[in-house]
Symmetry: C2
Subunit: 352 residues, 2 copies
DNA sequence: ATCCTTGATGTTAGCGCTAACAATGTTGGC
DNA sequence: GCCAACATTGTTAGCGCTAACATCAAGGAT
């Protein structure tokens, strides 16, 4: 009241203009300004122009907070992500961001530092606080998905690579099929079996790739060696490859390695090189992800391509559908994006 | 009114609870609830407990929109980024996100698809709409920074790798020093000069690395060959390296290549390998970025490390400072994070 | 001429919250 | 025992916007 009064007396007092200021300048009611701003049809053309001019003159911007309060719509979606510095999550995030912008939504982002239920609850609270209308969780670990499923908010919630059985809608790449294709490719080249260096075993993607790898071997009647557990890092690929090299030296036949991602595959290539083994002459290597540099490694890396942009788009489409449906889902939605094998130089027939 | 009436008559009607609901259940005024929620000191302990219980029972969450409307603070910062799928921007974004969360701010993100002034204006409008209290622009191109500087909002605005002369505060890695260190390292090994494959010449980082490279050569009195212009992609590194190989075949002495980033360096290593040249025996290669796989390439890549997490933290600190200072800056702030050379296997003395 | 429809605008009442002030007790110094 | 100082709680008035209704003029159908 006091402040308002001061402003009345001294109109030169500069503060961000509000709708009433525009209305005064244009000589209309604030409601008419609202109509113009929102593109309401029943406003005389001349009035529209007058209001537009006033808006430009004052540099008016609609206060989205006030609008959100009354419309009860924040127009904001949330994203919960775990480790966006990795290739897949970063790509997916970019895809989601783009799709959200195209759909006219704002995006609010939280990154998880740890996968503890507490950390997840904190992140979820953060988004609830923001009153997001829905949320996408790039939730690659089982414990993370479970923690999210157990929480009451935010909803609706779509998971990316969230696995099955959580009761939450999910978008994912067909990891099982991708891994199967990779292993079939190697078996088709004549390898009697394929060893596997998996990613972080806590990740659902890692799990699914193990399933696909095992299934392909079983389908072909090939022996199934014990998979080695890595953590997605080049270092782990490097170290685990050395343990395979040792087993090879001990007489085991290791001619093909399917690696959980390209970063580890780079470590594997390095280890094999150091061990004096030729790729693909002595050992074939297949990765997963198809990072941009895969084609330019020495040798170029056979790998499995994942369309992360598509995953982003699909998850946003799914989320918007859930928002429209407003919780009345007849069944849990699930969208699967196919993976695609990219055959390059690191895979070939086994040595005689 | 009508709806309100219905709710009154039928309290079982479930809708998200508001402060008044909590107040009624706890037998206090809504203001007391507000005091409890905001940790105001002068509330009797027993009252606090009663209110807390009511909050838990109803699953109440404060409506941040209403709060923002009255406090005139959205508690939200914006990020404008260009191509977050690249290593540097993705890392920086993660650093900013973390720092923002620790400072109690929400983060709203926009990604730019193109660097046209129109695209930038649209992105800026998007954040103004959101009423962000400040903004960080991961703005690696001159045109982008200029477009941002020309706009009236959002403010305050801190740029990352935004160069000088825009009039905007900036946080950056010391690209010039990093490049200089890399070139000094190569000259110190005995190379008579160092060739340069630069990144996308529209990027300021690329420009700064060229400056550092040139300065180091000039300081040493070494000849300065024409730099080759790439686009950060492995493909461009691969193709440009071939043109250097040709010049070598034509008699030019090319024994050391400083490459604008690690991705291109991977392409370079590949091209040299295909040309039958040994690294570092025939040609030394140094990259920039220190991506996680650099250490595990064959040979392991000498490169320049950038502490992106630090850049993220610094830019947020700078932004918060600007917000506090509320536009009364005496001079344009600038924070420089040092780069660090990582010497590995891809650099060595020149052939005799 | 009368009524209803339609278009263009204004008026009013909140959305859920916090700031400011008012109204109580409650304590302690003298 | 009285009053100042303080702690605790309640009351009121908006923040800037949109939805709903009210108003008024200008036709067209009857």
């Amino acid at each position: 009241m006091l402040f308002g009064g001061v402003v009345q007396v001294n109109p030169a007092e500069s503060r961000t203009p509000v709708m009433a200021d525009v209305a005064r300048l244009a000589g209309v009611s604030h409601q008419t300004v609202s109509r113009v701003v929102n593109g309401h049809p029943n406003v005389r053309e001349e009035t529209v122009l007058r209001v537009r001019r006033a808006i430009d003159e004052l540099g008016y911007h609609r206060n989205s907070t006030a609008r959100a309060l009354v419309t009860r719509r924040t127009n904001t979606l949330g994203v919960i992500a775990f480790d966006t510095t990795l290739f897949g999550p970063a790509q997916t995030l970019a895809g989601i961001e783009r799709a959200a912008r195209e759909a006219g939504y704002f995006l609010s982002m939280v990154s998880l530092d740890d996968v503890s239920p507490d950390g997840v609850a904190t992140a979820a609270d953060y988004l609830i606080q923001q009153s997001v209308e829905g949320c996408v969780a790039i939730a690659p670990q089982r414990s993370l998905v479970e923690a999210l499923a157990a929480l009451s908010g935010p909803r609706p919630l779509v998971t990316v690579e969230g696995g099955e059985g959580s009761g939450l809608p999910v978008v994912c790449v067909d990891q099982v099929q991708g891994a199967r294709d990779a292993v079939h490719h190697l078996l088709g080249l004549g390898h009697t079996t394929v060893h596997h260096i998996e990613g972080d075993p806590l990740w659902l993607e890692s799990e699914a790739r193990v399933v696909g790898w095992r299934r392909a071997l079983e389908e072909a009647g090939a022996p199934v060696p014990e998979p080695l557990q890595g953590d997605w890092s080049p270092r782990s690929g490097y170290e685990l490859a050395f343990s395979l090299v040792e087993r090879r030296a001990a007489g085991e036949r290791v001619t093909a390695i399917f690696v959980g991602n390209d970063q580890m595959a780079i470590g594997v290539l390095r280890a094999l090189h150091e061990a004096g083994l030729n790729v693909p002459g002595d050992v074939s290597v297949v990765g997963f992800d198809d990072v941009p540099e895969a084609e330019y490694l020495t040798p170029s890396l056979t790998t499995v391509y994942q369309d992360f942009a598509q995953v982003g788009r699909e998850s946003l489409a799914l989320l918007l559908g859930e928002i429209d449906r407003n919780g009345s889902a007849d069944r849990i939605a699930r969208r699967v994006v196919p993976a695609r094998l990219r055959v390059r130089g690191s895979s070939g027939p086994p040595p005689p």
